[in-house]
C-alpha cells in the first residue's frame, strides 16, 4: 500500500515537472511585514491569470512563506530550488530578506527577481539577482530633479534618520544632485522614534528653507510636518517612498497636505499602455485599486515570463542572462530596462497628498536621471 502511494506520488511529481514550468514566489506571508507579502501576491496571481502559459507549458507558482525573517528567506529559497526545482524565483519584498535569499539563489544559480527591494546591496556583485524597482540613488536624484527644476527650490533642508541606512543613502543621493545644480543644502539629523523636532526645525527656519526633504519613514515625516507648520513654515515638504503608506495622512492630517514623495507607481499615472488595463483587471478581480506592491509583483512575474520566452529554454542560467538583457519592457509600473547590475532603469512617479488622498503629480523620466 505504502509503496503504491509512493509510486503514485513520485509519478505525480515527475509528471507535473514535465507538464508545467515552476516559478517560486518567496514572500513574507506571515509576520511583521505580511501585509506587504499579501499585496505582492495579489499582483502575481493576477499576472499568472493573464499569462498562464510560456513555451507552450503551464506555469505553476509555488508560494513559500518567509515569515518576514532573514533566515527563513534563505531557507525558503533553498527549499524552492532543491525540493520544488523552480527555474526562477520572485522575491523577497524587503531588502534585508532579499539580501539573505539572494546569496542562496546566486550559489545555486537560479535567477531571482525582487519586486520591491530598493537597497543597492541587494544586487551588488550578483549575476542571478535582479529587480523591477528602481534603487535609492535614482530616487534621490529624482527628488533633487523635481525640487530644483519643477518646484524651483534653491534652498533645501534635509532631515536624515541616522538609524536607517535607507534614509542616510537617500539623503546623500539627493544632496549630491541638488548641490550639483547649484542648490544650497543644510542637513539635520534625527533618530527613528524621535517625537520632538523643534530644534532641527528652528535651524531649518533660520536657514530659510524653501523645501524640507525628509528621507525617513511616514511616522516621523508626519510629526515633522505638523511641528513645522506650527512654527509657521510655509514651504514644500518632500520625501522618498518611505512616505508611501496611508498612515502618513492619518497621522499627519492637514499638515501633510501638499507633500510630495517619490514612488514606483500610481494607478492614475499613465506611464505605459499596460497600466490602465492592469488597473481595470485588478479592480475587477479584487474590488480595490492596486497598490504599488501589487503592481511591482505583477511586473516581476511578467519580466520572468518575458525572459523565458526570449531565452526559449527553461535553463535557469540562460533565463538569468535573458532577464539582464531586457530593454524597454512595457510593465504596469513603467517602461523597464534591466541594466547589467540587475537594477531596473525606469521612470519615477511623484505623488502628492491632495485633499487627504494620494494623487499623481508628475513623472520624472529615467533619461533625466543619468
Amino acid at each position: 500500500m505504502r509503496k503504491t502511494l509512493l509510486l503514485v506520488l513520485l509519478s505525480f511529481t515527475v509528471l507535473s515537472s514535465f507538464a508545467s514550468i515552476k516559478i517560486g514566489a518567496l514572500l513574507p506571508l506571515t509576520g511583521g511585514v505580511s501585509a506587504f507579502g499579501e499585496l505582492v501576491k495579489k499582483g502575481i496571481d493576477l499576472a499568472r491569470e493573464e499569462k498562464p502559459k510560456v513555451l507552450g507549458q503551464d506555469v505553476e507558482i509555488i508560494y513559500m512563506d518567509t515569515r518576514s525573517e532573514k533566515t527563513e528567506a534563505a531557507n525558503g529559497m533553498a527549499r524552492l530550488i532543491d525540493q520544488q526545482k523552480v527555474i526562477a524565483v520572485i522575491g523577497e519584498v524587503i531588502s534585508g530578506n532579499s539580501i539573505a535569499a539572494g546569496e542562496i539563489a546566486e550559489k545555486k544559480k537560479v535567477p531571482m527577481v525582487s519586486p520591491s527591494s530598493t537597497n543597492p546591496i541587494v544586487t551588488q556583485g550578483k549575476k542571478f539577482v535582479s529587480r523591477v524597482c528602481f534603487i535609492d540613488p535614482i530616487q534621490g536624484t529624482a527628488l533633487a530633479e523635481f525640487a530644483f527644476k519643477t518646484l524651483k527650490v534653491t534652498k533645501a533642508v534635509v532631515f536624515t534618520d541616522i538609524e536607517q541606512d535607507y534614509s542616510v543613502g537617500l539623503s546623500n543621493f539627493f544632496m549630491e544632485r541638488f548641490q550639483k545644480y547649484g542648490g544650497q543644502v543644510l542637513q539635520v539629523k534625527y533618530k527613528s522614534g524621535d517625537q520632538e523636532f523643534s530644534s532641527q526645525l528652528s535651524q531649518a527656519l533660520a536657514f530659510g528653507a524653501q523645501a524640507i526633504v525628509i528621507t525617513g519613514y511616514y511616522n516621523e515625516i508626519a510629526l515633522i510636518a505638523q511641528q513645522a507648520r506650527a512654527l509657521g513654515y510655509k514651504g514644500f515638504f518632500l520625501a522618498g517612498d518611505g512616505a508611501d503608506a496611508p498612515e502618513l495622512i492619518k497621522i499627519g492630517g492637514q499638515a501633510v497636505e501638499g507633500l510630495y514623495f517619490t514612488s514606483h507607481f500610481h494607478p492614475d499615472a499613465p506611464v505605459t499602455p499596460v497600466t490602465k488595463p492592469f488597473v481595470d483587471a485588478f479592480m475587477k478581480k479584487y474590488g480595490t485599486r492596486p497598490s504599488t506592491l501589487s503592481a511591482l509583483g505583477y511586473d516581476a512575474y511578467m519580466i520572468i515570463i518575458e525572459a523565458i520566452e526570449r531565452a526559449k529554454t527553461t535553463k535557469p542560467e540562460l533565463i538569468a542572462t535573458a532577464i539582464r538583457s531586457i530593454k524597454n519592457f512595457q510593465g504596469a509600473t513603467g517602461t523597464i530596462t534591466i541594466d547589467q547590475q540587475g537594477n531596473a532603469i525606469k521612470d519615477v512617479v511623484i505623488i502628492q497628498v491632495k485633499n487627504q488622498n494620494f494623487a499623481f503629480a508628475a513623472k520624472i523620466s529615467a533619461s533625466a536621471l543619468k
Binding site: S199, S202, L231, E247, I251, G253
Partner: protein
Amino acid sequence: MSLNPTILIQNLLNGLMVGGLYALIAVGYTMVYGILRLINFAFGDVMVMGIYFAYYGATLIRLSFPLAVTVSLAGTALLGIVIDRLAYKPLRNSPRISALITAIGVSFFIESFAVVFFGPNYKPFLDALENKTIAFESFVIGNVYLPKIIFIILGITAIALFILFVIVYRTKIGMAMRAISADIPTTSLMGINVDNVIGFTFAISSALAALAGVMWALRYPSFYPYTGFVPGLKAFIAAVFGGIGSIGGAVVGGILLGVIEMMIITLFPTLMQYKDAFAFIILIVILLVKPAGLLGKRTVEKV
C-alpha cells in the same frame, strides 16, 4: 547659527510643556515611592494605556473627546488599583527588591499586552479628535509663531497639579496618605485602612499619568505600545532629580528637566542626537552631588 529670541521663546515654552508632562508622571512615581518605597516602573506604560483608552473611547465607542478623556482617566485609575492589588499587595512584606522586579514585570506585561491586543503599529491620535488641526495651530504675533497646543497643555497641567496639591494637603485622605508615608504601622493603629489609602494613591497617580499621556498624544499625535518608555524613564529621573518622595520636588524636577533638555539642544543643535543622554547625565550628577535630590530630605536609614 545666531540665536534669535523667537527661537529661544518657542523652545523655552516647548521645554516647559514637556517638563510639565514629565512632572505629572513624576508625581506618580514620587507618591507611590513616598508611601511604599517602591519604584513603580509601570507608570510609563500606564500613561500609554491612558492614550489607548481615550483613543478607543473616541473612535470605537464614539464618545466626545472630553468624555473619552474622562473615561480614560477613570479606566486608568481602576487599572492602577488593579495593578496594586494583583502585583504589589501580595508583596507588601517581602524584600523591596522583589517588588521592584515585579514592577519591571508589570511594565513588560502591559507593553506585551498592548502589542497583542491593540497591535504593534503606530495609531493616529487625530482620529480621536474633532478638531484635527489642533496639533499645528499657532498664535501669531508679528512673525512669531507660538503653537496653541503648548498653552493648552501648560494650562491643563497647572490645573491638574493644583487639584493634586489640594487633595494631598487639604483633605482627610491626603492627610492619611502623608501619614502613611511617615509611618505605616502607627497610621494603621489610628484606625486608617492602609490598603484603601494605598489603592487611592495608585488610582490618582495612574489617572495623572493617563492625563499626561493624552496631552502627550495631542502634541505628538501618533503612538504605539512603547511610546511611554522614554517619558516614563525621564519622569523617574525627574522624580529623583527633585528628591524622590517629595511631590513639590517631582514638579520642580520635571519642569527643570524638560527645560534643560530643550535648552541644551537649542543652544547646541549639533548635540541633538544625544538628547536622551542628557537626562541620564543629570541623574548621575545629582546622585553624586546631592543624592537626596533638590527638595528631598536627607534621611538616615535605620538598620
